[in-house]
């Protein structure tokens, strides 16, 4: 047991940290969902056994590496391959037929984290002979998760879960067709990798950068407050081609947002919308 007195991060401490991060790095977390941020900050001070808040602010101001580390710690990066198998079943049945009609397929995964979701999508495309005519942009705010995504290397621990997700998602082959095991790590096939472009992009401050047929942004906007969500949705709408499709997380919604009436639902359970003509 530690005798360290734990400090508690409340609203005012969080505001201080948000301000400091903004001043020193330009990253703006002020429109993030407060309850999640509080937990992340709390987790950061707990894990680093920080017992003096003033000192923490001092240290952060003097050490930009520490600020970067804090930023990486407070974004939630949890992800899986074929996470929510039901979504991928739906994608096989309802998205793939739409994509099949296109001469060239452009996809954007916003907030792709360590990339598992992107590789899952690439596998889906491959299984439908669509990978060759696809380009996938995968972006995130966090440089270190992108490094992992780019390497396509994952720990073996999660494999069992991925295999079962794949199976549940009604995958026709074996997940092992798409990776090899090297030095105790899963390594995704080069063929999948070659079709994905990984790059940093901040949904809060950066501009739309291309036009897409499909935008996938799952479990990212739950970390934003309502007004930031609205902005992001508008940017997505702008970035979609005519009849382009937007897929967000199963507990997220574009209802009550400015783009609600500019999109028509494709699947309400898995939150997939199509841009109205």
């Amino acid at each position: 047991m530690t005798t360290n007195t734990r400090i508690t991060i409340g609203d005012s401490e969080a505001e201080e940290l948000i301000m400091l991060i903004n001043d020193y790095s330009g990253y703006d977390f002020s429109d993030y969902s407060m309850p999640s941020l509080l937990r992340r900050f709390q987790r950061y001070v707990d894990m680093n056994k920080i017992s003096d808040f003033k000192q923490l602010l001092q240290d952060l101001m003097n050490d930009s590496a520490m600020i970067n580390n804090l930023i990486e710690e407070i974004t939630v990066n949890v992800t899986e391959m074929f996470r929510d198998p039901g979504f991928f079943i739906c994608a096989r049945k309802e998205l793939i037929p739409i994509l099949k009609e296109l001469p060239l397929i452009k996809i954007w995964h916003a907030g792709c984290s360590t990339g598992e979701e992107v590789y899952s999508m690439a596998i889906l495309l491959k299984e439908n002979d669509l990978l060759d005519k696809s380009i996938i942009y995968a972006t995130d705010i966090n440089q270190s998760v992108l490094d992992i995504a780019r390497s396509g290397k994952y720990s073996l621990e999660a494999l069992k879960e991925y295999e079962s997700n794949y199976w549940e998602s009604e995958g026709p082959a074996k997940l092992s067709d798409y990776y090899s095991i090297v030095n105790g790590k899963i390594v995704m096939n080069d063929e999948l990798k070659s079709k994905i472009i990984f790059s940093t992009h901040n949904l809060v401050s950066d501009h739309p950068f291309n036009q897409f047929d499909l935008i996938v942004c799952r479990n990212v906007v739950i970390y934003f407050n309502k007004s930031l969500q609205d902005n992001v949705f508008q940017m997505f709408h702008k970035s979609l081609n005519e009849k382009g499709v937007l897929a967000i997380g199963s507990q997220e919604t574009i209802m009550f947002s400015p783009i609600e009436h500019k999109m028509e639902p494709l699947n309400t359970k898995w939150k997939i919308w199509k841009k109205k003509a």
Binding site: D11, S33, P35, S36, R39, V78, I222, Q229, Q251
Partner: protein, 606 residues
């Protein structure tokens, strides 16, 4: 910004059943939102919503990110997300790391709600198989909310409720029936008043303070009434001393305003009589007097009770202030009386509880049974096995521990000194220690397991000289079987085993010393590696069977007889062996009393 109050039900394995009983009782106009948080995956179909929706009188909805709770709704937390709430009461989902292997984690949600809803939050923790929720529920209590735990006797899986009970003292421990009653009772109150009522045992359907005013002149009564009525008090009037005494003995007034100059019986006399009455003695009195000089006399006349004095004509603000003071004194008096009765009542229930030994035994039995591995689980690990577990009383000092860990089957039969409650306590401590050694420390070698136990016992009971039962220890047989390598290891601390192979039965001797805090940490328990063939069967047993008196000349059963018994039936499937051994014990015992707990575990391996 709808942030009135909230009731959160939470649980895991075994809690659906409870929910199915409670939720249909919630009336359509229920004034609070109800949140349901279960450990569950985000399944493709929404079974739970559908089933609950059909049974419930209020709408059942799945929680969406960034929404507010509304009264008369049941909200189900989606699988695979933590549920948080921001300071305005907006629900936020979060997909960060699992906590306690769970997402949603009950701890996370309770913690978040506790801080936002404070004393308007009721957290209910039901049946479940891990420790999630205990810490969070404690936080709810610490922030003034109400912490409710399903009583372990009524829970089908007790780990979750027990973890909470072990961690802190929940405000309420209740079975399904009681929980339903509580939930339904909330409709009569605001949520904070309700919580206050439960926590402090006081009903807050607020009673207005009542005041008796006494004067022989109707005009005076009228103006006094006018002054006090505006303060929201309940006012009674009496126009004579005699009537005042009569009324005061019937109603518990918080204050009496008493005119001094009255015909027949004057104010002082009235006060004196009130001062003698058991019920009226402590009622504060304010005297009204036109003379303003009788103070001395007043104080002499009355021994106890607060007294005050006012000159006529009455100055309304002063009067009001004085009444307020009297009322606060009266409230204190009442509270003191209440605590006294509460203490008396508690004492009474405590007495009833301890005399109801059979109830507490049943309770202990539940706990013990929950700790021992279940038959289905054991069956899943062995090709064939038999288990006879017959404590002398409803609970006992014998136990068995069976587990597959890292490809090895570990099976243990232990026999703690003593039976009944002390034996059972010892057995639970032992199981806990074994669990730690094997599952936390990963020690799988039987003789090292025994050594580790000795070490734990030495640290646990080193300084304990007071309680003799802890100076005792236990005997046990520990086996591990490596399925891949087909290797069977055995080490015994006072408990030998039998091994049957082909037509022969062999007894494998044990080191004679049992495990206790008094032997050396480096004591060597002999490790035996036993050869295996396709039909190898091992039998672990406590000494209850071999020590049992009975038979024709009332002798002990003896291990030789057990060996012969096994020899005679070893070729049979194990459930038949079980029957034969069972019958033999019954026959031997006859009318004799069972002298100790009896346990036999046999398994076919190889």
């Amino acid at each position: 910004m709808e942030k009135e109050g909230v009731i959160i039900f939470s649980g895991s394995a075994g809690s659906i059943e409870v929910i199915m009983n409670i939720f249909p009782c919630i009336p359509a106009n229920f004034p609070f939102p109800v949140v349901l948080l279960l450990h569950r995956k985000n399944t493709i179909e929404h079974h739970l919503e559908d089933v609950l929706g059909r049974k419930s009188k209020v709408p059942v909805v799945e929680i969406q990110d960034k929404t507010y709770l509304k009264p008369s709704h049941i909200y189900i937390a989606p699988g695979d997300y933590h549920l948080l709430v921001d300071k305005d009461g907006m629900l936020c989902l979060d997909h960060s790391e699992k906590i306690n292997y769970s997402r949603p984690s009950i701890d996370v949600t309770f913690d978040s709600f506790a801080k936002v809803f404070k004393n308007r939050c009721i957290g209910i923790l039901l049946s479940g198989a891990n420790a999630d929720g205990a810490k969070g529920l404690k936080t709810i209590k610490e922030h003034g909310g109400l912490s409710v735990v399903q009583s372990p006797e009524s829970a089908s899986v007790i780990t979750m409720p027990m973890s909470a009970i072990n961690l802190f003292e929940p405000d309420l421990i209740a079975d399904t029936q009681k929980i339903t009653e509580i939930i339904l009772d909330t409709v009569n109150y605001t949520i904070s008043n309700f919580i206050n009522k439960i926590k402090h045992g006081q009903d807050i359907k607020e009673e207005l303070p009542s005041i008796l005013i006494v004067d022989d002149l109707a005009d005076n009564l009228f103006s006094l009434n006018a002054i006090l009525k505006s303060e929201g008090y309940k006012i009674d009037k009496a126009n004579s001393g005699k009537l005042a005494i009569e009324m005061a003995t019937k109603n518990a007034y918080d204050c009496i305003v008493l005119d001094v100059q009255m015909p027949e019986m004057d104010g002082f006399e009235v006060a004196k009589i009130l001062g003698e009455g058991e019920l009226t003695r402590n009622i504060p009195i304010i005297f009204l007097s036109a003379l303003g000089s009788d103070k001395e006399k007043v104080i002499q006349g009355i021994e106890s009770g607060a007294i005050d004095f006012m000159a006529k004509p009455v100055d309304p603000p002063l009067m009001k202030a004085k009444i307020k003071l009297c009322l606060s004194i009266s409230a204190k008096n009442k509270a003191r009386k209440k605590t006294l009765t509460a203490i008396k009542e508690e004492h009474q229930t405590l007495k009833e509880f301890t005399t109801d030994v059979s109830a507490s035994m049943r309770y202990a039995q539940n706990i013990q049974q929950a700790i021992l591995p279940k038959a289905e689980f054991i069956n899943s690990l062995f090709r064939d096995n038999l288990l006879i577990y017959r404590p002398k009383e409803s609970i006992g000092g014998d136990f068995y521990y069976i587990k597959e860990f890292s490809g090895q089957l570990i099976f243990i039969v232990g026999d703690c000194t003593g039976h009944g409650v002390p034996g059972a306590m010892m057995s639970m401590i032992s199981i806990n220690i074994i669990h730690n050694i094997i599952e936390t420390k990963g020690i799988l070698n039987p003789s090292l397991i025994l050594n580790a136990m000795v070490k734990e016992f030495r640290t646990a009971f080193r300084n304990d000289t007071s309680n003799t039962s802890f100076q005792d220890g236990l005997e046990l047989a520990v086996c591990s079987y490596n399925k891949k390598e087909k290797k069977l290891l055995y080490s015994g601390a006072g408990r030998p085993i039998f091994v049957s192979q082909g037509n022969t039965v062999r007894k494998i001797k044990s080191t004679s010393s049992g495990v206790s805090s008094t032997i050396s940490e480096n004591f060597e328990f002999e490790l035996n590696e036993l050869p295996i063939s396709d039909d190898t069967q091992v039998y672990l047993y406590s000494d209850g069977i071999v020590d049992q008196f009975g038979g024709p000349s009332n002798k002990k059963f003896m291990s030789k007889r057990l060996e012969q018994l096994i020899q005679s039936c070893q070729h049979l499937p194990m459930n038949q062996q079980k029957q034969i051994i069972d019958e033999a014990i019954q026959k031997w015992k006859g009318k004799e009393e069972q002298i100790d707990d009896i346990t036999i575990f046999g398994a076919k391996i190889g």
